[in-house]
């Protein structure tokens, strides 16, 4: 049986020479050179495992882009579904390109404390040696998918009224500059990292940053027409498709195992405290926190409203996930459930609060990502002795100020230059007709009046 021409000459048996090259102790090297074909190198095995973790984690987080797309498509009205889908496909693509153009370097390369360097980031070409504990391209891939998450959050909040192009330009700046600079402070080993700020997989760094950007946009953009009546009441605008919203939530939940699990950043270490064990704990905790968020929202909406609002339950799952993201490793199972459940409670209580402030957040992204993200970051010291409340608050505030102010400026400029909002008529007719030209369900006539 012959199977596809091998792409790489370096099969397992090519190992000998490499192992040799990697050795420094001459006598051992001598012995090893002979034995090498038989045993696997520890560091090279670890290299493969670590890289595999990034690739697996990466494709799982990439899948979250679909999750956001489905969730948001389900939460907007029929007339805006194509637009919402389009925005999600576009933002994921733009994020991926911008993170190569400049984002990754700004975040990780020669970080001075507050910012990295301006340059495209390229990994070694095929056939070039790749040093370190993992493939740098796998690391880039894994970091890249995170930045799209932040942009998806913005897209959900501002749905049904923002014009396509100013939104996409904001995404360029968010994913190329705002997020990477903020990210460098902690994950790029900048000043917040030096201070001891803890944010394992990014409750603050990813979710709150996205949430702040969304909040700034929501304030400048204003609410959808008809959301708040002239007599100060909220006039709910139900989402068009709960099946899509649920599918999106499940996709996000699945992707979160990559988001949190692969943020362990290593799989290949050996020994009793192996990273593999830590990742396993993270998987279990991540799931328990989401479950806690679901059950909390389920019970709370039943008690408060006598019916179970499925949109709150879906938000509850996500809020549970965001809450555990700042520290998915150290909590025991009970604490994981509690941390997630508080996230679920937060959503149910703060969605109406935002409405009181007339901040129109179509999918509930601000409660889920920003507020639960803050909660999760504050909860780290409860289970992780390396974290302190003081430093966590410094981090939360620093990220809040930077992300909100930077986003606010960008939104303001965009508003001045090209306008953010579609015309009232386009909003009424739906963005699909106005800007996309393709209705999402063209054979289906939406029902007017309730």
């Amino acid at each position: 049986m012959i199977y596809r021409t091998l792409k790489s000459a370096a099969g397992p048996l090519a190992l000998g020479g490499l192992a040799l090259a990697a050795m420094s102790h001459p006598v051992l090297a001598q012995e090893a050179a002979e034995a090498a074909p038989e045993f696997a190198s520890a560091s090279e095995t670890a290299f493969i495992f670590n890289t595999l973790l990034f690739l697996m984690g990466g494709f799982l987080v990439m899948w979250m882009a679909a999750g956001f797309a489905m969730l948001e498509a389900g939460m907007v009205r029929t007339k805006n579904v194509s637009m919402q889908l389009l925005k999600n496909v576009a933002l994921y693509s733009i994020a991926g390109i911008m993170y190569w153009v400049v984002g990754y370097s700004l975040m990780y390369v020669d970080v001075t404390g507050y910012i990295g360097s301006f340059a495209p980031y390229s990994w070694p070409a095929a056939g070039t040696a790749n040093e370190g504990d993992y493939s740098v391209a796998s690391d880039w891939f894994f970091q890249m998918v995170f930045v799209a998450t932040a942009a998806s959050i913005v897209s959900g909040t501002l749905a049904e009224r923002i014009k396509l192009w100013p939104f996409l330009i904001f995404v360029v700046l968010l994913t190329g500059f705002i997020y990477p600079v903020a990210g460098s402070w902690k994950w790029g080993a900048g000043w917040l990292d030096a201070m001891g700020f803890q944010d394992f997989a990014g409750s603050t760094l990813v979710h709150s940053v996205g949430g702040w950007a969304a909040l700034a946009g929501a304030i400048l953009l204003g609410a959808r027409n008809g959301k708040y009546t002239s007599d100060g009441k909220v006039s709910p605008i139900p989402g068009s498709n709960m099946a899509l919203a649920t599918l999106g939530t499940f996709i996000l939940w699945l992707g979160w195992f990559g988001f949190n699990g692969a943020s362990q950043l290593a799989l290949g270490s050996m020994g009793p405290n192996a990273d593999a064990s830590d990742i396993s704990r993270i998987f279990a905790n991540t799931n328990l926190a989401a479950a806690g968020g679901v059950v909390a929202a389920l019970v709370l909406t039943q008690l408060m409203y006598k019916k179970v609002d499925i949109t709150f339950v879906l938000n509850g799952a996500l809020a549970g996930l965001v809450s555990i993201t700042a520290e998915p490793l150290t909590p025991g199972p009970f604490m994981a459930i509690v941390i997630g459940a508080i996230g679920g409670v937060i959503v149910v209580l703060t969605v109406p609060l935002l409405d009181k402030l007339k901040i129109d957040d179509v999918v509930g992204a601000i409660p889920v990502h920003l507020i639960a993200g803050i909660w999760g970051t504050l909860a780290v010291p409860l289970t992780n002795g390396d974290a302190s409340f003081g430093v966590q608050i410094v981090g939360i505030v620093a990220y809040g100020v930077f992300a909100f102010v930077a986003s606010f400026i960008v939104w303001t400029v965009l508003k001045a230059v090209m306008g953010l909002r579609v015309s009232a008529e386009d909003e009424m007719n739906g963005l699909d007709v106005a800007e996309v030209g393709v209705e999402a369900y063209p054979e289906f006539m939406p029902m007017h009046g309730r």
């Binding site: 006039s235 709910p236 139900p238 019916k307 609002d309 709150f312 969605v351 029902m447 009046g449 309730r450």
Partner: protein, 112 residues
């Protein structure tokens, strides 16, 4: 000839159809509509905010009949559609000047 237009609860459609078939009615047209009468809708809560559901789903049944049959037809529909609760619906009758069966070109009562 008359057109009898009845607006009834959706789940009563089948009963009305059977009642009309019982009278020998051979054709009818159904439209999905919404409406309200004495039955005023209700309030729901979505994401913590209350809103009124003003319009309730109904089906509209239109049947063109010979004038002779109108009483019978109205009676049959009313009986089949009645639950005794608000929202049971209404029946409206108006004149029909002309009817044509497209396939054959027949007109008048023949065409019904």
């Amino acid at each position: 000839m008359k057109i009898v237009m009845a607006i009834v609860k959706p789940f009563k459609l089948e009963a009305v159809r059977e009642a009309l078939t019982g009278l020998g009615i051979q054709g009818l047209t159904v439209t999905e509509v919404k409406g309200y009468g004495r039955q005023k809708g209700h309030t729901e809560i979505y994401r913590g905010a209350e809103y009124a559901v003003t319009f309730l789903p109904k089906v509209k049944i239109e049947v063109a009949v010979d004038t002779d049959m109108v009483d019978q037809v109205v009676e049959a529909i009313a009986e089949a559609a009645r639950t005794g609760q608000i929202g049971d619906g209404k029946i409206f009758v108006h004149a029909l000047d002309r009817a044509v069966r497209i396939r054959t070109g027949e007109t008048g009562v023949e065409a019904l």
